[in-house]
Amino acid sequence: MQNAQLIGLSAQVALGRELEVIANNVANASTTGFKARSTRFQEYLMPKASAETFQRPDRRLSYVIDAGTALDMSQGSIESTGNPLNVAIRGDAFFAVQTPQGERYTRNGAFELDAGGRLVTSDGYPVLGQGGPIQINDRETGATIGADGTLSTNLGNRDKVRLVTFADPQGLTHAGANLYASTGPAVPAGPQARVEPGALERSNVRPVLAMSRLMEVNRTYAMIAEAVSRLDTLHGTALQRLADVGTA
């Protein structure tokens, strides 16, 4: 008889998870190159209860589970910063970054030069060009990344930042710190992806959408709580009546 409560609970657990996803999106509303996640729910059909003595067969119980959190790979707004080492990607591509754990990918183009003259991310991981990390020497000044992704200085052009893409972007996992790890191989991005110099890609979290979904989650959660609570009252009343019948 607790099935209704369990179904309610499954919905509440799923909604609780969705709230966490929304909270993470909103918290990263200012994170450069952040891609929002959305929750996908699935119906989970409980195997039939095996009472076959009734006239009509039992219906299967339908629970909710949160099946996945899909990455929303839509373009974030591009904000001009005027910093010559900032680049934003327009289109479907990632920068490749060399980390101690292996190659990682990011849409965050807030690059700097480190003390050794390497182009690095804000965590100090080298940004990969066509031939490994991009390096300038200490004789060179005025480092700028151009519209084709090439780092140039007063002494000429250096390497070009590598743009990669994936057959299945949903297969990317967040590695934290604006980085993604991929299980599939990275392939060079096509000409439809290009870089925007002197700009950064903002988070693609849509505040209005996040806030309205937040309200919806909150209300749905309360509604389910109310339903479960009423069911509980119903059970209580039923038991009381039955008890009354017994004593009468």
Partner: protein, 263 residues
Amino acid sequence: MRALYAAATGMAAQELNVQVISNNIANLRTTGYKRQQAHFQDLLYQNLRRAGSATSDQNNMLPAGLSLGSGVKTTSTARVMSQGTLSSTEKTYDVAIRGEGFFQVTLPDGRTAYTRDGSFDLDPQGQIVTRDGYLLNPAIAVPNNATGVTISASGTVQATVPGQTAPQQIGQLQIARFVNKVGLESAGDNLFTETLASGPPVVGNPNTDGFGSLQQSYLEEANVNAVTEISSLIAAQRAYEMNSKVVTAADQMLSTTSQMFRG
């Protein structure tokens, strides 16, 4: 409820963002000030279902995983080292750098600090000093009978002394540049100090070899753009508000849970 903590990290990040923006606005008229920009990163994710894991033995797999993030952190408040506008002051010892480089200043404890603020004056010994009285490095002394002091684009300091028709060279200003100037540490008083991240200074004469040129009687204004700062301030404030809404929602959901069974 993790949502509470994720939203709290969001609020903390936006608070810091507002702090950085307000410092930029406060230094709108500071000579040689370089604006800061807060950079954020997402925190670790908990993978409840990993993308690509098998859903059957027929080679089916999950197209998208289920991963829950835990909020945001601030990585850096890097300075944007772009050129500020030069404004004319008509003062002899005001110098601005156009392009790469920092003036070198000797601190009282002997260390060298770096600055883009070229509002210099003379001390009682005739030496060129900063507004705080710190000596310029290399030190340049102006004879007390000298007139018509000029500082050329390449840093040559010349003056006319009585009894001489041609102006005499009395010193050579040198500036320093860094591979990673963003890595310099701010020491306050418009000064920067060298760090491991900035790399060692490369010292040279202005207007040569990638160094910027000097402009006498000009000062470099802060590179803060009021409009940009105000719009970032509004965005930060709204983001803060949204995060607080998430906290409220999470709180309401918790309260709903605790009130489910009142009987």
